[in-house]
Assembly symmetry: C2
Homo-oligomer: 138 residues x 2
């Protein structure tokens, strides 16, 4: 598998990491993601790591880099779906995902992004609002 | 990698297939997906195959089976993100994805699911409506 697909959902981009990351794949992902952010004017990036059973310092650094790159391009990053065992191991190993925000799952991550973008300078985040209002409307 | 993650987005489930499918992985995916549909009352399943460079008869059968199983559980399935080369090969090989609906990308797939569910018996699909209205509101 050569590259990790990036899905556009309204103003957000969604990346699901399922395969073992190696240097080249990580570089490709960074390139693809920064290109997509500029192409699509994305305001947020959601990275789902629910398939990962190990998050080591390498993956941690990649996630941190992606967050920083997105920030420079005016998009915020949230890492979602971390398995409980991964959280335990991260803390036990003393790895902190510096500068990376996390949320329990994609929906909560989207809510977080939307709230955070709404707070910023009155920018109107319209596209995936349904996720916030969904349960109330149903 | 043992299983393919299933992401919940409102009333829809999203599956991104990135790895080569084999028998056991396909079985696991079918089990996981049907369980998640019943747990979450999902009304739609989106399967993103943008990472796949080859769709052979095995994958085609799996997609068809997932669509049928979801249908029985009252959820509709849309396959999204097919690469142009894959579409060409499918037709050249005479493989037809029988019973599987397709859309260009996740957003269009979601729109298709929402329209199709709205049409059904006045059921109110509220959750990811933002995707439909987003551009008009912005």
């Amino acid at each position: 598998m050569e590259r990790i697909p990036i899905l556009q959902m309204g103003e957000f981009l969604l990346v699901t990491i399922q395969v073992d990351m190696h240097d080249r794949l990580a570089m490709t992902l960074q390139d693809d993601l920064t290109n997509r952010i500029t192409q699509t004017n994305a305001r947020g990036v959601l990275i789902d790591i629910s398939a990962l059973e190990i998050v080591d310092s390498f993956i941690g650094r990649i996630l941190g880099n992606i967050a920083k790159m997105s920030q420079v391009l005016d998009a915020q990053t949230v890492v979602v779906g971390m398995q409980p065992a991964v959280a335990i191991t991260l803390v036990e190993l003393g790895l902190s995902l510096t500068g990376v925000r996390t949320a329990l799952n994609v929906e909560k991550g989207m809510t977080l992004l939307q709230r955070s973008l709404r707070r910023d300078s009155g920018y109107r985040v319209s596209t995936p609002r349904g996720f916030l209002d969904g349960d109330a409307q149903a």
